[in-house]
Symmetry: C2
Subunit: 421 residues, 2 copies
């Protein structure tokens, strides 16, 4: 691969709330990296290999910064159950099944393919506690063309009978897994994954914090998802004034940390996230399905907290990230209703930013289609969407696609500079 020109209508979000629309523009790639976005092909690239997508829209692909990969097997199930019953009836039993590596292979292959088909190219995923199946998940993500992080889950207490490990097992398996996983794949790397404070002993947390610091590893976990969880953490860590401190005291709360939910994070907790550079994975569909609450997303953005979007399958029942983007818009409108129509809602451009650039930055990318970044993009064919009453602008078509597109509308996907669909 050397220089390549990709032509079409280019739409991306180079800043929160800003949408750049270039009709009949082009992206020039140099060895898969973005050399620039241009209206016309610059003179020096006139003879480069060109792919012309014509009237189709080229936009950034999505980043899903929080999901439980094994729970793909239970997508859309158990939604009538309270959180603890849901965990005990479905979640822990489902994850326990991933001891079976053949089953893991089958489910993870289907998951990876569906994610690429839906236009998700960056991911931060929880596996189960099983080391071997975690390696399989990483391999299937890599093979399908996904990039990002996968974590073997650590959980050595309060995890039910079917899905638990001793502290010693958890530490040993984590070390073995890191040895195997760290350099095995080009695009999928390990991330430390204490499930959440209630399921991890202090000893395990201390071990993980030390490991994170020594090896500069990223960390993912859950924070302030619902009120009873917060109360539980308070009981477990009476020395911590707030939930986040139960991570911070072990060195698990810094600018390599992504924390899912943060629904009930008050001003002090939000300031701690901002000051520590922690990333928030807002999971709007999960927060509604599990009746967790309505996250203060706009408030977090305004205060400078780094907000990204997660599908959180299977608390969330939507895997396709364009649907999670619209779920974030809807959740923000619910927040507006809850605040007696005072909080602003997220516009399409704003929510799209969170689902693309917002997440992509956690993986080291720049803003929108930034020069120097490897290309992560989808090509959208909206020709089969309802015929409008007048010719639509590309910006209107973009907005409609975010709401309506399905995997069959996504006709090409680029991930880390390679075409993977």
């Amino acid at each position: 691969m050397t220089v390549q020109v990709i032509k079409g209508h280019i739409v991306h979000a180079p800043a929160f709330g800003k949408l750049d629309v270039l009709e009949n523009g082009c992206i020039v790639l140099d060895n898969g990296k973005i050399a620039g976005v241009f209206q016309d092909v610059p003179e020096q690239y006139k003879n480069a290999l060109t792919v012309d997508y014509g009237d189709r829209i080229i936009m950034p692909s999505f980043a899903d910064t929080h999901m439980h990969a094994p729970q793909y097997a239970m997508l859309g199930m158990g939604m009538d159950l309270p959180l603890l019953d849901w965990l005990n009836t479905y979640t822990f039993n489902t994850e326990a099944a991933f001891k079976d590596t053949a089953y893991a292979r089958e489910v993870y292959r289907a998951l990876a393919r569906e994610m690429i088909a839906d236009g998700t190219t960056r991911v931060c995923a929880f596996s189960s506690l099983h080391r071997e199946s975690t390696m399989i998940l990483m391999e299937e993500f890599e093979n399908a063309g996904l990039t990002g992080y996968v974590g073997k889950v650590n959980m050595d207490r309060n995890s039910g009978d079917v899905l638990t490990e001793t502290t010693e097992e958890s530490m040993r398996e984590t070390m073995l897994w890191l040895d195997e996983a760290s350099d095995r794949f080009d695009h999928v790397k390990p991330i430390l994954t204490p499930r959440f404070t209630p399921t991890c002993t202090n000893e395990l947390m201390a071990f993980l914090g030390k490991l994170a610091a020594e090896r500069k590893l990223p960390v993912q976990s859950h924070l302030s998802e619902n009120t009873s969880e917060i109360a539980w953490v308070k009981e477990l860590h009476p020395d911590c004034a707030q939930y986040w401190e139960s991570y911070a005291k072990y060195g698990l709360f810094n600018d390599r940390t992504v924390m899912a939910h943060c629904v009930h994070s008050d001003a002090r907790e939000r300031k701690a996230m901002k000051d520590n550079g922690v990333w928030v994975a807002h999971c709007p569909d999960s927060n509604v399905n599990l009746i967790s609450g309505t996250a203060p997303v706009r408030q977090m953005v305004k205060e400078g907290v780094r907000v990204t979007l997660g599908s959180d399958i299977a608390g969330g029942a939507l895997l396709a990230m364009n649907k999670v983007v619209t779920a974030a818009i809807r959740a923000s409108k619910v927040k507006r209703i809850e605040t007696n129509w005072t909080d602003d809602f997220l516009t399409v451009a704003e929510a799209f930013y969170l689902g693309t650039t917002g997440g992509a930055k956690f993986f080291g990318a720049g803003e929108g289609f930034a020069a120097g970044d490897e290309l992560h993009a989808i090509v959208v064919d909206d020709a089969d969407l309802p015929k409008p009453a007048k010719k639509l602008s590309v910006a209107e078509r973009f907005e409609r696609a975010v709401y309506l597109m399905d995997k069959h509308n996504i006709t090409a996907v680029y991930s880390a500079g390679r075409q993977v669909k």
Copy 2:
């Protein structure tokens, strides 16, 4: 067509909150009408023509009791605009385009086909104010296999420049349309459709009320969708203590009336609906998208108000009614959050009831797969959904299908006893 036996797993909701699951059961049809639902084929039907759907699930098809058919052309658009700008920028301009009958034909044909593909077989739809295009909509619904009601919209004030009719035109066109439409189609009939109180003069309302009484016609309109609309109606009808009275005083508020939204209907308005037998079309996705509020659905059901579900495209961006069913569940969970976790949410069985039987009863049907009713059903093939960790019960598969199924999972559709997909 004489006697026919349809075999498969039968799931239906014969009462609010009740789910009947019959594994490997059958439905016997006599000339398209349900003779009964049985575990085994009764002796007298052993030799009847049999269609065996094997491991697939047969469930009632959906009823969409509120939608604006021309707004299909603007699905998923303008969602960042406040209601009035949205109406003026998109809605009225889009509807105005339906003066062009060739355009109407194209859009309505696509709409009708998509609805059948999604498993909606009963509909109560607003057309535009155009008589000819309204006839085209009825014809396209009829030809695609839909059943129910379509209304030429009446709007003789406050409707913008592009989309208005004089009082005299509105009355004349309505009479002409009724002459043409009343007996033209077997399955699609006219419904009187004053857009909403602000767009209809008292003279027009009085005319429609008289017509509804004389011809025993059904009526559809909007009620208490948002607070500024309610205030506006109060100004227009200072004699009415509440919004609903502006319909009631003209005889447009009875057991043949379906009122969309009722988001802000208080106890007195809800009692009026109950006492008058009015049907509520709850439109959960629209209420969120347009930031209208969170309807008190469970409260209405508990009080005995008849609740049905509507897509309300294009205030709603979801046409497929299984997605509207899950939107109703999600909205009810938001209500639970809003009420500090005191209001119960809608279970899958409850919301499915509202989207099937709840609406079907407006069209004269009984509960679930009731004997004597023409069959309205879909056949769901869930084989391509994620592979679960253990064999699922049919009830679990049903729940998952309600959340995840897409048109490609719906492999057959029956409407009024005929197979239409």
